[in-house]
Symmetry: C2
């Protein structure tokens, strides 16, 4: 790319799938990116914008005129268009909207009224709704005659006179039946209706739980508004799994394309949490200064107690957060206490095993008394990790707080504090 052979670049870009071109743009430096956009703006496929990361997309849109953006946006599906527009600043958004043809604009503006991360934002407005009394033949004739219908769809939605969805006919069933068969007799009524205001996390749950390919979206009155297909939900499902686990680790998002200073700032929050945590742990240690002064071996061994408790706790909390997210576990479900009991049993088993091993090794190097204290502190702390690892996420979930966010740092604070306290406390009691 650095070479600047215009014709060759154009040819390359033209052959690339928009997703691959987006990847290429993202791999370039900002300067190279500017150059490629300048050369290729006339052959840029609108879908490319959707595949771009938010940071790079802002940059690319900044290089295009409002008219060009409007042109691109109106060629996209509603949900993708709304996605792009909502990230623009207000003035830019208005400029682009004014340049979009009125009919498209109305649909996009309505899309923007739904809350972010709601079903209304995920759905496409383009769908095929047919009345109950139609036959397969009538539907086929309607599809053939009407040029204004969406290109790709997978179901015919059967609606009543109030435009409420009452059934869905997969295209494959419609095609496999004779023209005289009534759609009513083909439709299945087991589909899940999604209110436009439903949170995207709940939508993803429905799709995953019931293996759905598509679901109709309705307004408050139950009227058919749009359709969500599984490909719209794939990235939501992925994001949800990612967010849960990133929250546990203490990273807010995978900010791969943001500039260094912005990335540094985004990560500050969790580093501040870590700093507070370790400051609390240090305060606990400082209470036992006199003990450490007399037995320096304690300073050498205390990280082991804290680390084992922390790791055992993170294992528990990860399992709990995922079980809560996939709704295998309900915070007030009948199996909650059984699960808590099992996790504490697991913690106790591993605590006993590791305390025995490490206590023996330590006795060998530092003498039996220190070995016994270390073993006892490890048992206490690892069982505590099992208790805290189950109860912290359950309690957060009961109060309606996302259990993933901060569960990890919060947990390791407790295991650090409890680990140092039990180890140094037992040593003060029994070794001095």
């Amino acid at each position: 790319v650095g070479e600047g052979d215009l014709a060759q670049i154009e040819k390359l870009v033209d052959e690339l799938h928009p997703a691959d071109f987006a990847d290429l743009l993202q791999a370039l430096t900002p300067d190279e990116r500017r150059f490629v956009i300048k050369v290729c703006r006339h052959i840029l496929e609108p879908e490319t914008l959707n595949y771009l990361d938010e940071v790079v997309r802002d940059e690319v849109i900044g290089l295009m005129s409002p008219g060009e953006v409007a042109q691109a946006v109106s060629e996209l599906e509603t949900d993708d268009a709304v996605d792009i527009l909502e990230d623009l600043d207000e003035a830019e958004k208005q400029r682009v909207l004014r340049a979009i043809p009125a009919a498209d604009r109305a649909v996009i503006e309505q899309g923007l009224t739904y809350p972010e991360d709601s079903a209304g934002r995920l759905m496409q407005r383009d769908l095929v709704a047919v009345p109950q009394h139609w036959t397969v033949g009538e539907a086929i004739d309607y599809l053939r005659a009407n040029q204004d219908l969406p290109d790709d769809f997978y179901d015919l939605f059967v609606v009543d006179p109030m435009h409420k969805p009452i059934g869905a006919v997969p295209l494959s069933r419609a095609m496999r039946n004779k023209r005289i068969v009534k759609l009513e007799d083909l439709m299945h009524t087991e589909f899940r209706v999604v209110p436009a205001t439903m949170d995207q996390e709940s939508v993803a749950y429905l799709f995953r739980q019931y293996g759905l390919m598509s679901a109709p979206v309705v307004d408050d009155a139950g009227r058919l508004l749009g359709v969500i297909t599984v490909d719209d939900v794939v990235h939501v499902i992925e994001e949800e799994a990612e967010e849960d686990l990133l929250g546990i680790v203490g990273v807010s998002e995978t900010d791969f394309h943001a500039p260094a200073l912005e990335t540094a700032w985004r990560r500050v929050r969790w580093l501040v949490v870590t700093l507070c945590n370790s400051a609390i742990a240090s305060t606990v240690i400082s209470q036992f200064e006199a003990t450490i002064e007399q037995i320096v071996a304690l300073a050498i061994l205390m990280p082991i107690v804290a680390a084992m408790g922390g790791n055992a706790g993170v294992q528990v909390i990860t399992v709990m957060v995922r079980a809560l997210a996939t709704r295998d576990l309900q915070p007030r479900g009948s199996n909650v206490w059984r699960v808590v009991g099992k996790e504490i049993a697991v913690a106790a088993i591993n605590a006993a095993v590791f305390a025995l091993v490490m206590g023996t090794v330590t006795s060998f190097f530092f003498g039996l008394p220190i070995g016994l204290v270390l073993g006892a502190a490890m048992v206490f702390n690892m069982i505590w990790a099992g208790i805290a690892g189950t109860l912290i996420p359950l309690t957060l979930a009961r109060f309606g707080i996302d259990p993933a966010i901060g569960a990890g740092p919060f947990l390791t604070t407790t295991t650090d504090v409890f680990g140092f306290f039990s180890f140094l406390g037992l040593a003060t009691l029994f070794l001095l």
Copy 2:
């Protein structure tokens, strides 16, 4: 459920979606589960088995006769049937296979020949392939006349005389065109062909990257074997995101339904790694025993240096592992050094800020010299975290090792060791 009102249980189960029934079974105790299965075995929908967690599924299948399992399995789609059979032990598998009708058995046995986690396992064998020269009308007549075709499908695959796929016609396009239109003129040829041996991770990448709804699967000679639809891939995409992040945390899987002893055993591996890590860190500390003896404040403060480095490093490594998994970053890509540079810059910025804050606070409590040493050690360790956090996953990826597995524990070992070494080492040099 405990009440035992048979008719009511049966009615309840009959109304439940198989996915919900599976959830219900999983929430029960093993005894309750046995009871419900005994009562409901005659109305058990085969799909229920697919929604069950592996541990619970084994239990449920153990309660069924080979004949019943065979009956259930032959009603499922090929990929789901293979999924269930491959988890059975060899003798049980043979008993079930013998009870399946010959035609279904052949298809399932062939499915079992593909490697686990390959495209061949994900695909359905049921698809609709049509010759190139057919028209829309011929295709519709074929679909109507042939009762042996799958219930739900989304594309007609156009094949050449060698049965190689040359195009795909989405059903919606076929329906919207007149009977005389040739399929050849409607088909798009941009579909991605998936070899049956392709790893499911690569399949998931294709679907996510190009927003595919379905893709044809071919054998070594390029002949059409089956089709993978996006719903088959959803759980793969989710699993991949989950595995990456679980690997970083050091949990091998979310073993929610396994019994306590088995769960304890599965978690031992990462606890052993943690133990080794903290033993190494302890060895480093023990080298500075004499220094700590003289300045106990060091023992109080050293966890702060290690924790800040560890957390900063985990943030970096998480971003890197996800970028490698989503192929935003290639281990030998042209942007590797830019990315590494950016991450080290981010680490340096945050290192400077936090070292300044914490050095000042420490000076206030423990005097300026200790504050300076702490600040310097924090800068070194957090920059080291940036370097290790980028280079460890990149190096693993270059050698073809999954960078997610163990990256976190490996990283924190280096930040613990480097943190203790730099803090205690600087103190030994300048404070004694």
